[in-house]
Amino acid sequence: MINKPNNMMFRVFIRLIAVVVVTFSIYLFFSGHNAPGGGFIGGLMTAIAILVMYLVFGVSTIKESLPFNYTYMMSIGLLLAAFTGIISWIAGYPYLKQFFDYFQLPLFGEVELTTALIFDLGVYLLVVGAAMTFILTIVEDDS
């Protein structure tokens, strides 16, 4: 990635677009259980938003403003996904059995909460982490 890109139009618009894309990706992640979306798609979209910012503002700027360790993010995602499975194991069910129920929450009304959502969060984190790792490692390679 070019280290000091300078494109006025891009810089202005991307600030707006990135917010929209990230918001939409979070929407996709949550709506996944009942509508198109889910952790994989949401994760990819978040990664796209971050990558576009890298493209426009340069590697060093974004590294400072978004100081994530993507390798850790991957491992956290994987552990989270594996961990939700163990819960059902302890409860005496097969590994990775998911549970769901409906709850009345203030402001939101009736909401369905599932353990699958935590699993999906693991998917989300791993996908973001992996996509970012793939591209950043290739991009940052100097030799």
Partner: protein, 805 residues
Amino acid sequence: MTLLHIAVLAPFLFALLVPFLFKYLRKIHTGWFVMIVPLVLFIYFVSYLPTTSDGHTVMKRFEWVPSLGINFDLYVDGLSLLFALLITGIGTLVILYSIYYLAGKKERLNHFYVYILLFMGAMLGVVLSDNIIVLYVFWEVTSISSALLISYWYTKDASVYGAQKSMYVTVFGGLTMLGGFSLLYVMAETFSIREMIAGSDIIMNHELFLPAMILVLVGAFTKSAQFPFHIWLPDAMEAPTPVSAYLHSATMVKAGIYLVARMTPVFGGGAEWFWIITSFGIFTMLWGGISALRQKDLKAILAFSTISQLGMIMSLLGAGSAAFYYMDGDNALYTTAILAAVFHLINHATFKGSLFMVAGIIDHETGTRDIRKLGGLMTIMPISATLSVIGLAAMAGLPPFNGFLSKELFFTGIMNVVQYDMWNGDTIGFILPVIAWIASIFTFTYSAIIFFRTFRGKFKPDMLPVKKVHEAPIGMLISPIILVLAVLVISIFPNMLAYTVIEPAMMSILPGILSEGSSFYVDIYHWHGINLELTMTIGVVIIGTILYMTMDKWSKLGIYQKEQDIITTVYDYGYDALIKGSQLITRAQMTGMLRDYLVYMLIFIVGLMTYTMFRFEGFHFSMENASDIDLFMYVILATLSVTIILLPKVNNRMTAIILAGFVGFLVAFIFTVFRAPDLALTQLMVETVSVILFMAVFYHLPNLTKDNIAPLTKSINIVVAGMSGLMVTFVSISAFTYGQMTPFEAISQYFIENSKSLGGGYNMVNVILVDFRGLDTMLELLVLGIAALGVISLIKLRVGESDDV
């Protein structure tokens, strides 16, 4: 989960604590905590003694994979209890010894004790498991922990070489054994050893009997260092001495013996089992004895001596299997060999354990184990010298020590073969006692060498690395003293063990051949009158002494100068050839061109698919009931095809990227048309990410050049690509047709119906991903993570030009 299961798992659980104990309680040697485990377990297993000596057994079940018949079943009988007592008893003493042996400040005790505990638990698992699959798992864990312990001082090349060698040999044996176990399962349709014993008639008459037997025996022979697999044991002596005393003389190398003993009721009773085990055992005994004479390192002599003694026990087990042919347990003619095997197993653990510990003391105090540098230590280390004398006398088979008792029984057992009137026992059987006698002479001679070269002769202080040589601290001496006391007690009161330990173990090796209500005749005594056995022992002493006296003459011979085993040379050549060969194959296929790798994969996939489809007559073509295709689909497909055909012709990279992206987006469009929004979304995302990746690295990519591909390669590529396309098309059409022909219920119906009620979501795709097939997703995540790590290691840890793969 019963107390017995917890006992087997206790070492593993305690191993989790060891790093913390090591880190936070630095003042106290970690060994003191670890020693509690085998000590408690030993006391626990002793409590089983009354049960087994009454002829009862204990069976505890814990279901692991019941659907496959794999259960964590533990079975305590005379044989397994004997081993469990050895493992925990010797284990306690070895850990006590190691506390003083590894007293240095810089020793990585946390590693050492974790490996030791790992081994202890695995070994208990091996001897107590009734299920052969569980047994196999524990068996491999002992191999791994053994290799880890050998390479404990991993900065030494010899340690790493020894660890690698032991790993290769024993894991090779382990895998072979797994093959044998699989065949056993095919024959007996059970993984339980006890059920196999009950069904041994079926196994004996099955055509797979011989292959299964040989495969299992390879596993046992590699573990118990039988010729020609013995080569790993001398190199394993690079391990710290407590490890050598524990794993490589008293317990792990006896796992093979255990397996043979355990499998005797399954396989025994035929000529193959008898002759294979007896001849390999007796030859190993001879080979180990001859090799031990050539060694100059104290521990190497002991290692070859262990090989020799293991061969002796093995041959006895072979000879004793004849009892199953005669089915006459009351006749001592057939059972003496088994009695000798069990008795010598116990004796060997006591005297060889103490000898190893003394060798470690000498190494520790003088800094060398080379018998050419040692000498005259008798007055400097009197306690160690005394311990050695007793241990060596027992090993050489001198009266009145326990080694003498078991060696007499050994001679009896092996000479009884001559009286067998089948399997050529009466014709060529005489060769066994002859070899046994010659090997015993060597045993006597190297025992003499160890003693006289170490403790007698001239003290050579200038050749020793340590200047002030003195006796070892008392803590280090406790364990060998206890073992030598055990030698003495067994020597004086051998019958103390007779009906508590030995007879129950014989009952497990030879079940069901006793007449009702009787028991095996176990009476061990010193004086049998002047018989052939005693004469043989006297002969051994006389000729062994002559051999030792003339040592200066024969040790000049060229063959005795070489220390290396000839089989080791073969192994080294084989190892080099293996490395070279695999490098050759790797270089031939790893061209560094992605295109080549794709071709390999596609050829394989297409080949396999074609074969399968023709083999099972899977091709069916019929377009009945297919829905109509709209005009715009034709347009989309035509555009797609044209783009793909054009793509290879493009010479500009930018255009190529745009075209490739176009293909991707068209595919996403097709997904949308077929109402698969999740797929379409994913496809769009992936396309976008790839475009960003291209944009990021575009600057660095070289210009596209016209590839100079040979026409032959080009046509191969075209053919492979065409074949893959055709194969996918044919398989899809066949799947459709087949679905129409037979009233198959599509699996999708289940998901459509249950997505909401079982998974709580309306998006079927997502519910399948996170719920119904959650494990698949989980493993895909793992793959993705591994791929990311792969990218990191490929790019950040790139190998230089000169480095080889």
